[in-house]
């Protein structure tokens, strides 16, 4: 008997969180992610966990901060305007070296924008998002299965490195239904949370979770220490998917929903006898620079596809060899702006010449 289930992307996120052992979820309604709090309000209490619909996104992320400081797995989810509100708390978590998972089902912006798919929050996600100079781990699923799997991975990576982790998807992935296998939680050796606040019992150290660092040289040291940790994450945890890149002279690169559309376009190009491949980054932060450098020694051109006027392209350009050409095709977010495979195939033909 198959244990496959037909679920929405947002539900897969919530299922992955429960499988990962999330104890506390704090959220606030916003389209197109509200299926996540709805699912968890129903299912999380059955596992002994806590669900609170917070008074605001700010309240929610600070509840995550508190629960995480107390040593349990905690998460929140939102979209665009709500993620902006959470940046204060995410910055404090980064400064306090607290793990925690934030799910961003991107919608259009700026401002209230709209609820159609967007990838225009790439900068916000991959550059930390809040004040003070920090990075978070950003995972970009490309299917409902990955919405499930990468949510579990986000918890593990966040705990392992004590860096907040984000699952960055959009309304296409959040609202789409696909069949998934609800895999068991992956085996991952994690350090015990000795830093968590539990009450200062005799014979144990006082645990203080804080981001205020006033000592002479203390903050400078912290920044270099975190810089080294981000580098370690980049070295060990960069993830990507390659599709038919082995002999490709043109490589399409895209993440999330656009990578799915691009894959169909690549298949169309292959059917037409063109040597075209796809490189899909799965970790957007750390950006998998090395594979871009490696592939650029073999291919002539990268074609970057995004639902924006171009954000990831900065990272692509910084990663490829100097003489590698990088072309761009973007559809900024908005109703009716999702490109078709045919449209991307036309771009491939244009550059493959």
């Amino acid at each position: 008997m198959s244990d496959r289930q037909f679920v929405k992307g947002n539900e897969a996120v919530a299922m992955g969180a429960i499988m990962a052992g999330v104890r506390c979820y704090f959220g606030y309604p916003i389209t197109p992610q509200s299926d996540i709090p709805e699912y968890l309000s129903r299912e999380l209490p059955k596992t002994g966990g806590t669900f609170i619909q917070a008074e605001s996104e700010i309240g929610a992320i600070n509840m995550v901060l508190g629960a995480s400081a107390a040593g349990v797995r905690a998460m929140t989810s939102s979209s665009g305007p709500g993620i902006s509100l959470k940046q204060e708390g995410i910055s404090y978590m980064a400064g306090s070296e607290l793990p925690g998972v934030i799910v961003d089902i991107m919608r259009q912006g700026p401002g209230l924008g709209g609820i159609d798919a967007s990838q225009a929050d790439y900068f916000q996600a991959t550059r930390g998002g809040g004040h003070g100079g920090y990075r978070i781990i950003v995972l970009a699923p490309g299917s409902v299965q990955e919405m499930y799997d990468l949510t579990m991975l986000a918890f593990d990576l966040s705990d392992l490195y004590r860096i907040p982790a984000m699952v960055l998807a959009d309304s296409v992935l959040g609202q789409m239904k696909e069949s998934i296998t609800p895999n068991p939680r992956p085996q991952c050796e994690l350090p015990s949370k000795e830093w968590a606040v539990r009450g200062w019992a005799e014979g144990t150290p006082q645990n203080v979770v804080k981001s205020l660092k006033l000592g002479d040289g203390e903050m400078e040291k912290f920044h270099w220490q975190m810089h080294a940790r981000y580098q370690q994450v980049a070295d060990k945890e960069s993830r990507w998917e390659e599709y038919r890149t082995e002999d490709a002279s043109l490589i399409v690169t895209a993440f999330g929903s656009t990578a799915r559309i691009s894959r169909t376009a690549v298949e169309m190009a292959r059917d037409a006898g063109m040597k075209v491949g796809l490189l899909r980054p799965i970790t957007l932060s750390p950006f998998p620079k090395k594979i871009y450098a490696d592939l650029s020694s073999r291919c002539k051109l990268f074609l970057d596809i995004e639902l924006s006027t171009g954000q990831m392209i900065d990272d692509v350009r910084l990663s490829v060899a100097r003489d590698t050409e990088v072309a761009f095709y973007g559809r900024p977010p908005g109703a009716g702006s999702l490109p078709t495979p045919e449209e991307i195939f036309e771009q491939i033909k244009r550059y493959a010449g």
């Binding site: 104890r23 506390c24 704090f26 806590t50 609170i52 917070a54 008074e55 605001s56 700010i58 309240g59 929610a60 600070n62 509840m63 995550v64 901060l65 508190g66 629960a67 995480s68 400081a69 107390a70 040593g71 349990v72 905690a74 204060e88 708390g89 404090y92 306090s96 606040v197 539990r198 009450g199 200062w200 019992a201 005799e202 006082q206 645990n207 203080v208 979770v209 804080k210 981001s211 205020l212």
Partner: protein, 247 residues
């Protein structure tokens, strides 16, 4: 010789950074005595806030989480929901709790979170240098109300102990002062009561402590202490506003 008075075991043997005549030290001491008397120090987690109260971890022998400005009740909610067997309290000033953190305090109180909130009201932003607070008295001059607080422009001061007492989720709400021995004794009793509510798992308990900030009031410690009785208590009456023992 028999020792009749000493440092509270919940407090560290260190000098504080508080200014001469500041009341934070007295309020810290009363909170520490409550933890000692219930024997709950080792299971207590404090939530420091932003302002002069941020160094809670430096003065108390307890685990502490530092919260973003105004968010301590949300942080405390997260801690308490994750570890319901712990005693969790926040320690917040008036700008923190009644301005930027108004949403967090109202909603955590309304949910009846099983936490204790110690709210120090000194009618000004202390750490940032004496700006107008949500509890600054009408006519009071501060660095951002140089002509005196004008309630037509700035609104009237929030009376937090009364405001929160109207919420069903609040089990205990009281306002205290530490400006004279009588008030200190009463404050000690009520702070202890607030923690007793949490020890008994009876929901949200709130203490508003009127406090002097001589430095930012531009006053000597003694006249600042007198201002509590002369100006603050008439506007912010002391007493118990909600006590579910009596319901």
């Amino acid at each position: 010789m028999k020792q009749v008075f000493g440092r509270s075991p919940s407090l560290k043997d260190v000098q504080t950074h508080f200014c001469p005549g500041c009341h934070h030290g007295s309020v810290h001491r009363l909170v520490a005595e409550a933890l000692d008397e219930f024997g709950i120090r080792e299971k207590t987690i404090g939530c420091a806030s932003v302002g002069c109260s941020v160094f809670l971890y430096g003065y108390f022998n307890i685990d502490v989480v530092e919260s973003p400005h105004g968010r301590a009740p949300a942080v405390a909610t997260g801690i308490k929901r994750a570890r319901p067997d712990r005693i969790v309290f926040t320690y917040q000033g008036d700008g923190d709790l009644a301005a930027i953190g108004m949403s967090e305090i109202i909603h955590s109180a309304n949910r009846g979170e099983d936490i204790t909130v110690i709210f120090v009201n000194n009618t000004t932003y202390g750490m940032t240098g004496g700006q107008m607070a949500p509890t600054t008295l009408p006519g009071q001059k501060t660095s951002t109300s140089p002509y005196g607080r004008d309630i037509n422009n700035d609104g009237a001061p929030f009376k937090m102990a009364e405001l929160l007492s109207n919420l069903d989720g609040v089990a205990f709400s009281a306002r205290v002062a530490v400006n004279n021995p009588k008030n200190v004794l009463s404050a000690k009793k009520l702070i202890k009561t607030a923690f007793r509510y949490q020890v008994e798992g009876r929901g949200f308990s709130f203490i508003e402590a009127l406090a002097a900030c001589p430095t930012n009031w531009g006053m000597q410690p003694l006249p600042a202490n007198e201002r509590i009785g002369d100006e603050m208590i008439p506007y912010f009456p002391l007493g118990v506003y909600k006590n579910s023992d009596n319901l």
